[in-house]
């Protein structure tokens, strides 16, 4: 099984206010699609450890949304919602990502992110292209900054420490 050599590319296109991520998965398209669109599967991977994604409601259809919390090891809940705009079964979906409260009321203080996820099966792999676009360059910057300062930093710092000890 080729899990170690899976392709991943990541780039920040500041001029077009976009983040682009491509990743290859060693699984057929139907399963990768399911993992991205079914809440019981999303809950298993969407949040980086030790955080955990917990779905409150999920309605994967055009005009529907996914309301979930990122739950921290200390019980902190960060509520998010993804509104699905367009869905082309097994091919592509687009949506808007926002921060909100537990009832799904959007917090307009935080930048909105526009997602496009495209799925393509090639040989025995599935490629997922993700584009996250913003209204303003400063929103992109804030999104990156915020994601780490308020929430994920601890997990990533653990990883940083681990990597540092292995390097030195």
């Amino acid at each position: 099984m080729k899990t170690s050599a899976l392709l991943m590319s990541f780039s920040v296109d500041k001029e077009n206010k976009k983040i682009k991520v491509t990743r290859e998965f060693a699984a057929p398209l139907s399963k990768v699609w399911a993992a991205w669109t079914e809440s019981h599967l999303l809950d298993q991977w969407w949040a980086p450890k030790p955080w955990q994604a917990k779905t409150k409601t999920m309605n994967f259809k055009e005009g529907g949304h996914w309301l979930y919390a990122m739950v921290g090891p200390d019980g902190t809940n960060i509520w998010c919602r993804a509104d699905y705009k367009s869905i082309l079964d097994q091919k592509k979906f687009t949506g808007e990502d926002k921060f909100c409260d537990e009832n799904g009321n959007i917090d307009i203080k935080f930048p909105m992110a526009f997602w496009t996820c495209e799925f393509k099966e090639e040989r025995n792999s599935t490629f997922v292209n993700i584009e996250i676009a913003f209204n303003e360059v400063s929103d992109l910057e804030k999104y990156i900054e915020m994601g780490f300062k308020d929430g994920f930093t601890s997990a990533l710092e653990n990883l940083d420490n681990l990597l540092n000890t292995q390097l030195t």
């Binding site: 991943m8 920040v12 060693a26 399963k31 450890k49 400063s138 994601g147």
Partner: protein
């Protein structure tokens, strides 16, 4: 108001200024001599870079010298690197979910 750091380094003239300053501290006049654009244009670039803390000012006698602040670029690298790792983590977890999915449902 805080300046947008990504916008600051997206400009080619400002990147050129950073490259020049990285090797030695320079006065605004010495910097302006390196470019075809007007002094006003160069000083506007300097102001933006200073507001973003890419440059540090130092007064020597009557002259102001600009120094490069390496910490600022490191800060940006760190953000992006963390963000990239965040995605890597997420996808590693997804790999596991997919492996379990495969064994749950019988493959042809």
């Amino acid at each position: 108001m805080r300046r947008d750091v990504f916008k600051a380094i997206a400009d080619p003239t400002r990147r050129a200024i950073l490259v020049l300053i990285a090797t030695r501290a320079m006065t605004p006049n010495a910097l302006a001599d390196e470019f075809d654009s007007t002094r006003q244009a160069v000083s506007k670039h300097i102001r933006i870079l200073t507001e973003c803390r890419f440059l540090k000012q130092e007064k020597v006698g009557r002259e102001i010298y600009y120094h490069y602040n390496p910490d600022k670029l490191k800060e940006i690298d760190k953000w992006l690197e963390q963000f990239r790792k965040h995605w890597e983590n997420r996808f590693d977890q997804l790999d596991h979910v997919l492996i379990n999915l495969k064994s749950d449902k019988n493959e042809n």
